[in-house]
Symmetry: C2
Subunit: 240 residues, 2 copies
DNA sequence: TTATTATTGTCGCATTTTGAGACAATAATA
DNA sequence: TATTATTGTCTCAAAATGCGACAATAATAA
């Protein structure tokens, strides 16, 4: 909203690399559920993943981080590129036309946005509590949605989300990546809930703790007293 | 060579999507060694991965398969996209300029090739014996190189190769993908050599055979009599 | 103070998977 | 007929995994 004009009035077709976009699947974890950030465009009923374009003098990864910062307020995010979507079928200029018109943009300087794009897709893992979801100039909301209650997403964005989740699951077995969805200090039970949400299945507590601690990547800290009528769990942090 | 003019004279800057290229790491296996196809450009001493551009009405994956067909003569290749390289640092227009000039192309219709490109990288696994390596219009050779004896590769192509190999190793653990580097019928020892070449380590024969056969994905056929003074191994095929 | 409750850290045991050597079978040669 | 090199398969030990159990414990209730 606030930067509708500041952003677009200074931007012409030479600012961005044509034909290339990125989309990001931003995962968060809250209420024992896996969630992602979804944008809703002004006056169109269209839901989409947060995305954007690369500046002509900007690294692809930096462009994505810049967009992530704008959408979440966060820097130093865990970010992984997982696939580039390049089918002709995803080229639907009338959709971008609709979005631009709904925002009062008819200028020829946006013609480049109506061309065909391929999209490089990333997923990010962030600490839900740190995020202030922020819409961009074209959208009136940027909100968390449960992975199992997503709205209909435009273009091939549902496919992108599906592939992001699949890749995340595969990486979960290789790296201790789930910690990025939690605060710096967390209990093993919280981490187990993250794993269960991502994998979509219950895990055995004893086995899970043995495996995770066996990696030797977590540091144990003080206990966490929550005033509950049971033993207090230890807090852990990743690394250091 | 033969299609230098036929190819380029009919191609103008509106044929291809600007700013997007692909590169392919084409793996083969021969003499117990893992190899890849490398092109050498005319009169420049520049070595590079086989690559190309997308047509404006062409799926990204199809563009890559089209290029693969041209370079190897093969269709229905095992192909996997693994990363998109988009750093500004990889933009070195003077290199493309050198290549074009070495081929006598000064026309303004190739200006678009001097712009910045991002490159979507794929790796392919093919049966070495089926391939007829074929240079393109700009190069005078397209040849197999041992993975441990690669020439200096231009731009970030060495990095692309490294990431291809890393991804292939990871996928080897998940899918029975090594069979794509062998003929339709192969022995378990041959398959083991493929695994060893990719992973860069020796494997225990008994354990390897138990694991591979335990997947239940190979079909046993007749024995292979090679006239050697020892027991003849069974031949296997993937699937069916 | 003392029992109750819910959850934690950890252990033990059975099962499964993996690593590594061993041995008989066998295709060709000496 | 013995030799040689390699194969298919087995066994045994070691490691990893699945699953239940139990004492410890932080707060509450009696």
């Amino acid at each position: 909203m606030k930067n509708l004009y500041s952003k677009f009035s200074t931007v012409n077709e030479t600012t961005f690399l044509h034909h290339i976009a990125y989309d990001s699947v931003i995962f968060g974890f809250s209420g024992e559920k896996l969630k992602i950030l979804i944008m809703k465009y002004h006056n169109t009923g269209l839901y989409a993943l947060p995305g954007g374009f690369m500046q002509r003098d900007e690294n692809l990864n930096d462009a994505v981080r810049r967009g992530l910062k704008e959408r979440t307020g966060l820097e130093n995010i865990y970010l992984e590129q997982f696939y580039t979507f390049g089918d002709v079928a995803r080229y639907k200029p009338e959709i971008m036309q609709t979005i631009l018109e709904a925002n009062g943009h008819h200028s020829e300087s946006y013609q480049w946005m109506l061309n065909r794009f391929i999209s490089v897709a990333y997923y990010a893992l962030i600490n839900y509590n740190d995020v202030v979801p922020t819409p961009d100039a074209l959208s009136d909301s940027c909100d968390w949605y449960d992975m199992d209650e997503l709205p209909y997403l435009m273009l091939d964005h549902a496919e992108i989300v599906a592939k992001a989740l699949q890749t995340l699951r595969e990486n979960l077995e290789r790296k201790l990546v789930g910690t990025n969805l939690l605060p710096p200090l967390f209990t093993l039970t919280e981490l187990q809930k993250v794993y269960e949400a991502i994998l979509g299945e219950k895990l055995h507590r004893g086995t899970f703790q043995r495996k995770i601690l066996g990696l030797g990547l977590l540091q144990r800290h003080e206990k966490q007293f929550l005033g509950k009528a049971h033993k207090a769990p230890f807090l852990y942090s990743f690394g250091d």
